[in-house]
Symmetry: C5
Subunit: 305 residues, 5 copies
């Protein structure tokens, strides 16, 4: 039996029944009433409705509470938003709660609807969780491709947008790293507890944990990458600045003294004997050429040009 | 029974009584007398009155001693001050001590007053501690919003105030990280000890620990964020400096040689044949245009403009 | 018995038989059919064919599954590509799978062919794995030599290619570090499990683990080295920029005031008395020499030149 | 019974006696003779006299050997020197050794002299050790205040002395961090061993350990602070350099082209028609104003001014 | 009995005999023959002759294999080379192997020769190992002194050699840190195993371990020091660059406008009325003085000078 945003017609479910209640984007007060009617403790309801909690796993008498952070519908690799999804997993009921649409929940809902009978609650929950994690993967692959492009562009043609794109990635990857760190520890704990109870390894739990571990590892890798790109850019920029400054200094060093000489003989003093030498101008041109050549030789010797 | 800054009328409390003594901002010597009269060991009194101790948890025969660091009344996210709050938690008494007003204590005091009877001492203490931690949250949320703004401003319009604001955040977040690190370990230890004694998980302890863990995690995240913003700004500034220097170098490289030529023909030598050529001036203008064009082409080719 | 890219003529192998099936670079669908025909679970087949999975070790009822990342045929220290290689190691069968040619597999294949009878499956697998790891060593030694060269070149003659070469090394070494980190944990786990079963240390397992540990340690060392080179270059570039700017500033500071004076007496005002002094020009030359000398002395004193 | 730099009149001490021998700044050979006469093994004597050993804890048959590093008499927060202090703690004797005056030892000596009878050897040793650690605290508080000042000065008025002061702090804090790291581990180990023997927590040991832990934590905090200040200064300096360069570039960009034009019409060609236009000069002034205005508008538009 | 580079006259040694065979710098093939004749497994011989293996400890049936990295004969703190030294430690034999002269081995050899009878094999080995580690100490002390000098020189008089000296130290210290990390873990493991067998602490093992720990700790300290010096230099250089640029900008900003004015009145237009004003020149001089004063005041106000 499934219900969406409303109380099921009987509660608790019969022993041989499986009920899934999905509460998406309904009014907070109405939601609270339903949750209380389902027998959830008031403190727990507060926790569920809290808009910003880190992912967590908590065992209660009648259910296991799990809070994850999924990708929001409109997220892209350039603009990432996340969505809190709560799971209350009982023996024969599953309550899912999210403040906004969750594609992972919707797809699982359709799958279950098509099959006409819900799986055991925990299995359904794990399928949704697997979907939640899988949905991050293409976004991260996009990001990896983009970082590869950025790595090449940085060397050839950096610009302000590219650099502030990097700053933005760093912020988002830092947050994701934190989230996935919680997820990894959560699934590691849950896997251990489930397998201890079963007395044997569980493939679904292993897949959930490995997905979390891989996400965490990828995000750390990308975070470090972005940092190294930023550091590497600074080296490159330092190098280029040195080259630019050498050009500027060479030009200045050569022309400024020559211009000074020209200025000197452009003065209007009544008595400047050189001005009246027959070949004064030509001698000066020679002197200037000599100065320029000497300076060029000097710069060449010190490897500036 | 509650007393504020004075000895209760009888001590120790009767077995079925619960006494809370709150000592806020009174004279140190008077405070010492009261504490000694309450049977606290002299060494312990010294510890309590010490103005700068890191948070700690210590079990004594008659009570548990806990020292936390709360937010001072006048703190804002821009100017954070902290306040030491000591707790001596006995079976049927609670002594709280803080050198300055503590809103967390005051609110709990009013709550207890309204209820007319204090809770069991440990419960009262945990409520105050929860309040102490909760009061950091809005300040940190403010900081997060501000960091989001700073991230955007840094890219568009950095200035000295913005950058020294960042330096200041780093110092405060470093200190908070240290404090919350002590809190997290303290509550983790206390939770473990309490739950071992109870033989079951305790919800209030879990909430205290999770709050400490979340504060620690948030503050680490913000500290790293500030560091990354500062690093990212250096990349951006390196990039912009390169652009500025290119503009400067291009202008210099083009006009300095031309000005030299103009200076050359502004000289007053008697014998400069070019000056008397009919189209000397126009030829020179052409030559100058040619030089400028060649240099522009060169700079374009090396992607400077 | 060995087969390549096709099903063996009987399956499962007889008890006293050892079969090695190698599946390299064949069509994905055909591969899937063969794997299913060999009795591999569909979920496992999916895992094997997934193009990007981190290295892992997994025990199944009939075989041990190991996924490693070897060096691709065309890799060089300048352009590193890796190749996923899957191993399914049963008691008397070994299935290897790689999407592209693997020299490590080919060499082991030839060795086994020459011996006319395959070793026990696990031994064959370990030999291939040892080869996979050994093949990284010469590439890393090349890289070490190259880094030594880069270290010297950076000091003497940095250029954009050198610096972006460093950025590229950092990206590749970061990925390799992650891969070898997985390998080290994998072989550490496998070694422990195998030795626990045997009840004694196993030399082949020890070699595999030590090779993984050494690769991980070398790659970390090189990664840090590249980072330090990049940081060191920034120090050097800062130092050189300072020197360049001093030269530029000294030249500017000396000639700009002199040129101003020259410009002043190049003006065409009717009434500039100095122009008509008999030794005006020579006095000015003296003044200019004095200014230049004073400035040079000043710069010398402040150690700029 | 106490002796200073000489052998006590009988040795070993009687069972109900407590002897403290303090060896400060005496000749190495004489010291060696005394130590050997006291029955200390030659290898141990070597260890004690070694001028540079990291802090350590070592259990011997007749005594516990502890080596700490205290603050030298003349140390200030600006110029820190440390001093090795060895303790040999027997059941009824204490030998302290330091190559130079130790205020912590001297104060304890006077305290014990005043009391006329030494405490049990271990208690005396712990009191000295507590003093050694306490003496670091005011120096660290001074440093904290100074760092607060430096943080403000860096933003407003950095200079070479300030920056090399920071470099110096970093070196000293790095060394202190290492020393306190050894101390923390040493006291943690000793506390554990003593409390295991006693079967209950020991307050003096707890105080020693907490002091060590606090010193280690403070020094780490200050070390990170100095690093962040240095990093933050680089951001600020990058920002200011950009501003300086913008001013320079704007001035250059505006006046260099105008000066070129002025130079052009200062040339002495016979035939420059513009020179003879009636309003040539005024038209040129207008053109120059136009160019300057256009450039100012351009710079304003690109937010350079 | 001792032999150098040759087989002893009988093998294995008699029960009450102690044989030490030292193989230094002989032909690889000859060495291999001797090792095989001594009953060393071929795989082990390969390991021993491998030119680049990280330090390791390995227990075999008849001997313990230890590989260390000592300082090469010609090493200085400026140019460090290391040398692999293998030890095969049996009950009554010791085989040492090094591809080049080892002073530690030579000194131990002379010591043993002087004593006419070798110690028990393990004791001899430990003495050599202690020497190997002790030989690093003076080199590290030299380095510490040099780093102290570099710290002062960097502030006063940095140059390219100094900075590339730092880059070189970082590379060598990174390698040493890795080597000493292996040594520390190796001696920690060996100490534990030996003491477990003996059932009591062993002084020689403790000294070996503590030497390794101290080397590791010192090298980490120096590595961080070099990094901090390099970072600190960047702060200092940023500061100085700002000062240089301010000087350059002030000079440019003052003289460039004045030179422009001079150029303006150096133009040869027929009609420039100002040129014919009686006090035109003097008024212009006043205006120029005014402009310079205003700019100086402006720069002073913004604290540039
Ligand atoms: Mg974390
Ligand atoms: Mg994080
Ligand atoms: Mg990982
Ligand atoms: Mg991980
Ligand atoms: Mg990095
Ligand atoms: Mg960075
Ligand atoms: Mg901290
Ligand atoms: Mg701490
Ligand atoms: Mg945490
Ligand atoms: Mg956390
Ligand atoms: Mg953390
Ligand atoms: Mg960071
Ligand atoms: Mg930073
Ligand atoms: Mg990694
Ligand atoms: Mg390692
Ligand atoms: Mg490792
Ligand atoms: Mg590094
Ligand atoms: Mg770096
Ligand atoms: Mg340290
Ligand atoms: Mg600590
Ligand atoms: Mg600490
Ligand atoms: Mg730093
Ligand atoms: Mg930091
Ligand atoms: Mg830095
Ligand atoms: Mg290592
Ligand atoms: Mg290393
Ligand atoms: Mg260590
Ligand atoms: Mg250490
Ligand atoms: Mg250490
Ligand atoms: Mg450091
Ligand atoms: Mg560095």
């Amino acid at each position: 039996m499934f219900t969406e945003n409303v109380l099921p017609d009987h509660w608790p479910p019969a022993r041989d029944e499986q009920i899934w209640i999905d509460m998406g984007a309904i009014d907070n007060e109405q939601e609270r009433q339903i949750l209380l009617a389902l027998g959830i403790e008031p403190l727990m309801v507060e926790d569920i409705q809290h808009p910003r909690k880190p992912p967590k796993l908590e065992y209660h008498d009648d259910y296991t509470f799990i809070l994850l952070r999924g990708m929001d519908q409109e997220s892209t690799s350039q603009n990432l938003k996340t969505l809190q999804i709560s799971f209350l997993i009982g023996d024969n009921f599953l309550i899912t709660r999210h403040q906004g649409r969750s594609r992972s929940v919707e797809e699982s809902w359709q799958e279950v609807m098509a099959a006409q009978s819900p799986l055991q609650a925990a299995d359904t929950a794990r399928r949704i969780m697997q979907r939640i994690q899988d949905r991050y993967v293409p976004m991260l692959m996009d990001l990896e491709n983009r970082l590869g492009e950025v790595e090449e562009e940085l060397v050839e043609n950096a610009n302000d947008e590219l650099l502030s794109e990097l700053v933005g990635y760093k912020t988002r990857l830092r947050r994701l790293r934190r989230t996935f760190n919680y997820h990894e520890r959560l699934f590691s704990q849950w896997k251990e507890d489930v397998e201890e109870e079963l007395g044997e390894p569980d493939r679904a739990m292993t897949r959930l944990y490995e997905a979390a571990e891989r996400l965490q590892s990828l995000v750390s890798l990308y975070y470090d990458w972005v940092g190294d790109l930023s550091d590497g850019y600074i080296s490159l920029a330092s190098h280029r600045l040195n080259n630019i400054m050498k050009v500027l200094t060479v030009i200045t060093a050569i022309f400024v003294p020559l211009s000074f000489l020209a200025g000197l003989y452009g003065m209007n003093f009544d008595n400047i004997p050189e001005l009246h030498f027959r070949y004064g101008y030509f001698v000066l041109l020679l002197v200037m050429t000599g100065i320029a050549a000497a300076l060029l030789w000097l710069f060449r010797k010190s490897r500036w040009i």
